[in-house]
C-alpha cells in the first residue's frame, strides 16, 4: 500500500516538476549563462565575454533611463491604486445611494485584459479626437492637440494613469473586505466618545486596515513588476525610449537589437533587484507578524 502511494506521488508530481523545470528553472539558468556571452539569439558562433555585458550596463544611458522609469513606475503603480482604492472603499463603505452600482463600475476595469485597457486609453489620449483633449477643449474653449503618448514628458505618466485606473478596483475590493471586518462596536463607541469622522478614519479605521494594506501592497508590487504588457501596448517604451522600463529595455535589447547576451545581463540585474525587493518585503512581513501575531 505504502509502495503504491509512493509510486503515485512520483507519477503525479513528475509532470508539474518537469513543466516547472523546463519553463522556469531552465530559462533562468540559461539567462545567467547567456549573460556572460555575446550571443545574438540564434548563431552557434558566440564568445564568452566575461563580465563585459555587466560593464556595458554602467555606460548604457538607456539602462539608467529605464532604471529611473522603473522606479517611477513601481512607486506610482504602488501608491496611486492603493490610495485611490482606500478612498473609494471608505466612500462606498458608508451607505451611499447606488453603492453596489459604483462598486461594480469601479471593479470592472480589473476584469479587462491589459490589451483592452491599453486600447481604451490610447483612444482617450488620441490627440485629435480623443476624450481627454476634447474635454480640455470644452473646458478651456481653446484648440488643444497634445499628444499624451507621443511626447517624452508625458508618455510614462499617461500609462501610469491608465494602469492605476485598472488596478484601483482591486485595492478597493480588498479594502472593502477589510472594512466589513472592523467590529461595528468599536466605531459606535468612538462616535459616542465624540470622535470626528476624520479622527475615526485616521486613528481607528486605517490602523485596523493594516492587514488589508499588506495584501494590497503585495499584490501591487507583483502586478507592477508584471506591468510590461500595458506599456508595450500603449507606448512600446517610446517615444524614443522615454517610457522604457527595465523589462522593456531588456526586451528591446534582446529581441529588437538581437543582443540576447546583453539582454540576459539586464534580466539578471532585474532578477537581483526583484530579489532585493522581495527580501525587504518578507523582512517587513516578519516584523508585521510579530506585531499583529
Amino acid at each position: 500500500m505504502e509502495r503504491d502511494k509512493r509510486f503515485w506521488r512520483i507519477v503525479l508530481l513528475t509532470p508539474p516538476l518537469l513543466v516547472f523545470s523546463v519553463l522556469i528553472v531552465w530559462p533562468l539558468l540559461s539567462s545567467f549563462y547567456y549573460s556572460f556571452t555575446n550571443w545574438n539569439g540564434f548563431s552557434s558562433n558566440y564568445q564568452f565575454v566575461g563580465l563585459g555585458n555587466f560593464q556595458k550596463i554602467w555606460t548604457d544611458r538607456l539602462f539608467f533611463q529605464a532604471t529611473i522609469n522603473t522606479i517611477i513606475w513601481m512607486v506610482s503603480a504602488l501608491l496611486l491604486p492603493t490610495l485611490l482604492g482606500l478612498v473609494l472603499a471608505l466612500l462606498l463603505d458608508s451607505k451611499v445611494r447606488g453603492g453596489k452600482f459604483f462598486k461594480t463600475i469601479f471593479y470592472l476595469p480589473i476584469c479587462l485584459s491589459a490589451i483592452v485597457v491599453g486600447q481604451i486609453w490610447i483612444w482617450i489620449y488620441q490627440p485629435n479626437w480623443g476624450l481627454l483633449n476634447t474635454f480640455i477643449e470644452e473646458i478651456t474653449g481653446d484648440r488643444f492637440r497634445y499628444a499624451w503618448l507621443a511626447k517624452p514628458d508625458s508618455a510614462l505618466f499617461s500609462v501610469i494613469i491608465a494602469w492605476s485606473w485598472q488596478q484601483t478596483g482591486l485595492s478597493m475590493v480588498i479594502y472593502l473586505a477589510g472594512l466589513t471586518a472592523i467590529p461595528s462596536e468599536i466605531l459606535e463607541s468612538s462616535v459616542s466618545e465624540g470622535a470626528t469622522t476624520w479622527q475615526r478614519i485616521w486613528y481607528i479605521v486605517i490602523p485596523l486596515l493594516v492587514p488589508s494594506t499588506v495584501v494590497v501592497i503585495a499584490l501591487s508590487v507583483i502586478n507592477s513588476l508584471k506591468g510590461f504588457d500595458i506599456l508595450y501596448i500603449m507606448t512600446g517604451g517610446g517615444p524614443f525610449n522615454s517610457s522604457d522600463t527595465l523589462a522593456m529595455h531588456m526586451y528591446n535589447e534582446s529581441f529588437k537589437k538581437y543582443l540576447i547576451g546583453y539582454g540576459s545581463s539586464i534580466s539578471v540585474v532585474l532578477f537581483l533587484i526583484a530579489l532585493i525587493i522581495i527580501g525587504i518585503y518578507f523582512r517587513q512581513l516578519r516584523k508585521f507578524d510579530q506585531i499583529y501575531g
Partner: protein, 422 residues
C-alpha cells in the same frame, strides 16, 4: 469503476516518445508557414494563393500568420529556439543577412537553378534581394516602391496641375498648399518606420546611393556633412510647418486616412498604401496618384526605395522538398503573382506577369522602378537591425523636436558606432 493499472500507465509513457518520433514522418505532406500578411486584404489573399498551391500539389499548408510588427520579434524568438517553420516570409536585405549569417536559413541555389528562376524573377530584385554570403536564400514574392502618394482632388482644388520633379518645385508646392490652408504632408511615425523614407530619399537624392551604402554599412558617420545636409533639408520642411501636427502619435494608416479625407495633401509611403486605399473604396488615378520623390542634386542617380517581401526556408525544416515546391510555385505561377500583387498593392517579382494586371497607379510605379538607376532597400532593411533600432528612434526623436538636430545626430553617431561594434 475501471482503474488504470501501473503496467498500462508505464506502457503509455514508454509509447509516447515513439508516437512523437513517428509523427514527423507522417507529416511529410505538410508544410508549416508563418507570415506577416495579416491585414484584412493580405490575409485573405495569401490564404487564397496557398489554396491554389494545395490544389496543384499533394501538400497541405499549416498556416500561422503573425501581425506585421510582432512578426519582427516572433520569428527571431522562434529562430533562437530552433523552431522556425518550414517556410516564412521575410524582408530582403539586412534582416535576411542577419539570420543567414547565423546559419538559420536553408540555401535554395539548387532549386533556383532547376526551376530557372533567373528567367522568372525581375533582375533588379534578384540582384539585390536573393543572394547572401554567396548563396541564394530568398525567393522574392513581391516588391514595393515608395513614392509621394497624394489626394488628386485636394491638389486639383488647390489649383495644382503639375507635380514637382525637383526640390525647388517641391518646396513651392508645399508653400502653395499651405497658403491654401492645406497641410502638405501627412506622416504617421508612431511605429517609427514610416519616417525612414524621408531620411532615405533626402540622403539618396543629395549624397547618392554609394554614400548611403557606406553609411548603412558603418563605413561613414552620421556626423558627416552629407547626413547633416539631408537632415537640414528635413528640418526646414518641419520648421516650415509642412508636416502634420503630432506625427509620432499616428500610425501609417492614420496618415493615409488624413490624405484620403483631404486633411493633408500627400504622404511619402510604399505602394501598399494603394491596397489600403483600394480597400476603402478609393479609385486609383481618380482619387489618388503619386509622383516620384523629387531630385535634389544634379547628377545624382535616381534611386527607388522600397522593401522586397520574400519567402525563405528555415535551416532545420523537416520538409525541405515541400518547402521548396511552395517557394517555386508562389513565384513562378503568374496567376498567383498577379492575384497577389492586385490584392496587396504590390509589384510582382515575376517578370512574366502581364503589366495590364496593374492599375494605372501601380503601372506608373512599375515604370518608375524600371527606369530608376538603382533600387535601394529602405533604411531598416538596409542596415543591421541593432543600427536600424538606433536610427528609427532618431527619426522619431527628430520629428518630436527638430530644433535639437545637432545634438540628436551627435548622439546617433555615437550610438550607431557602438551598435556596429556589437
Amino acid at each position: 469503476m475501471k482503474y488504470i493499472n501501473r503496467r498500462t500507465l508505464l506502457g503509455t509513457l514508454f509509447a509516447l516518445p515513439f508516437i512523437c518520433l513517428t509523427t514527423p514522418a507522417l507529416a511529410q505532406s505538410e508544410v508549416t508557414i508563418s507570415h506577416y500578411f495579416t491585414g484584412e486584404l493580405g490575409l485573405k489573399a495569401f490564404g487564397e494563393q496557398m489554396e491554389k498551391f494545395e490544389a496543384a500539389t499533394s501538400y497541405k499548408m499549416k498556416n500561422s500568420p503573425v501581425g506585421h510588427e510582432d512578426f519582427k520579434t516572433d520569428i527571431l524568438v522562434r529562430a533562437s529556439g530552433s523552431s522556425l517553420p518550414d517556410v516564412f516570409s521575410y524582408w530582403a536585405g539586412a534582416r535576411v543577412q542577419f539570420i543567414a549569417d547565423s546559419d538559420s536559413l536553408r540555401p535554395i541555389d539548387q532549386m533556383w537553378n532547376e526551376a530557372g528562376l533567373d528567367k522568372i524573377v525581375a533582375k533588379t530584385v534578384a540582384d539585390s534581394a536573393t543572394m547572401y554570403n554567396g548563396k541564394r536564400f530568398l525567393v522574392p514574392f513581391n516588391y514595393h516602391y515608395s513614392g509621394m502618394f497624394y489626394n488628386t482632388k485636394v491638389m486639383a482644388d488647390a489649383g495644382i496641375t503639375k507635380m514637382p520633379t525637383d526640390w525647388n518645385g517641391f518646396l513651392a508646392l508645399c508653400k502653395e498648399l499651405q497658403s491654401k490652408g492645406i497641410t502638405p504632408i501627412a506622416l504617421g511615425s508612431k511605429n517609427r518606420w514610416p519616417a525612414q523614407f524621408w531620411f532615405d530619399y533626402l540622403l539618396l537624392r543629395s549624397a547618392g546611393p554609394d554614400y548611403r551604402t557606406q553609411l548603412m554599412a558603418g563605413k561613414a558617420s552620421y556626423d558627416d556633412p552629407q547626413v547633416k545636409l539631408a537632415m537640414g533639408m528635413w528640418k526646414a520642411l518641419v520648421d516650415a510647418g509642412y508636416f502634420v501636427e503630432n506625427a509620432n502619435a499616428n500610425t501609417w494608416t492614420d496618415a493615409s486616412d488624413q490624405v484620403a479625407r483631404g486633411d493633408a495633401a500627400m504622404t511619402l509611403m510604399g505602394t501598399w498604401i494603394t491596397g489600403y486605399w483600394n480597400g476603402l473604396g478609393l479609385v486609383p488615378g481618380a482619387d489618388y496618384d503619386f509622383f516620384p520623390f523629387p531630385s535634389i542634386m544634379a547628377g545624382v542617380p535616381s534611386a527607388s526605395v522600397g522593401p522586397v517581401d520574400g519567402l525563405v526556408i528555415g535551416a532545420n525544416t523537416t520538409n525541405p522538398r515541400g518547402a521548396e515546391e511552395f517557394l517555386k510555385f508562389m513565384v513562378s505561377d503568374t496567376g498567383v503573382q498577379a492575384a497577389w500583387s492586385k490584392a496587396q498593392g504590390a509589384l510582382s517579382a515575376n517578370v512574366n506577369v502581364d503589366a495590364s494586371n496593374y492599375n494605372s497607379v501601380m503601372l506608373k510605379a512599375f515604370e518608375t522602378v524600371k527606369n530608376s538607376d538603382a533600387f535601394a532597400f529602405n533604411y531598416d532593411l538596409a542596415t543591421p537591425p541593432p543600427v536600424a533600432e538606433v536610427g528609427l528612434s532618431m527619426f522619431a526623436r527628430f520629428m518630436d523636436d527638430p530644433s535639437g538636430v545637432d545634438e540628436i545626430m551627435k548622439q546617433t553617431a555615437q550610438d550607431v558606432a557602438g551598435a556596429f561594434k556589437e
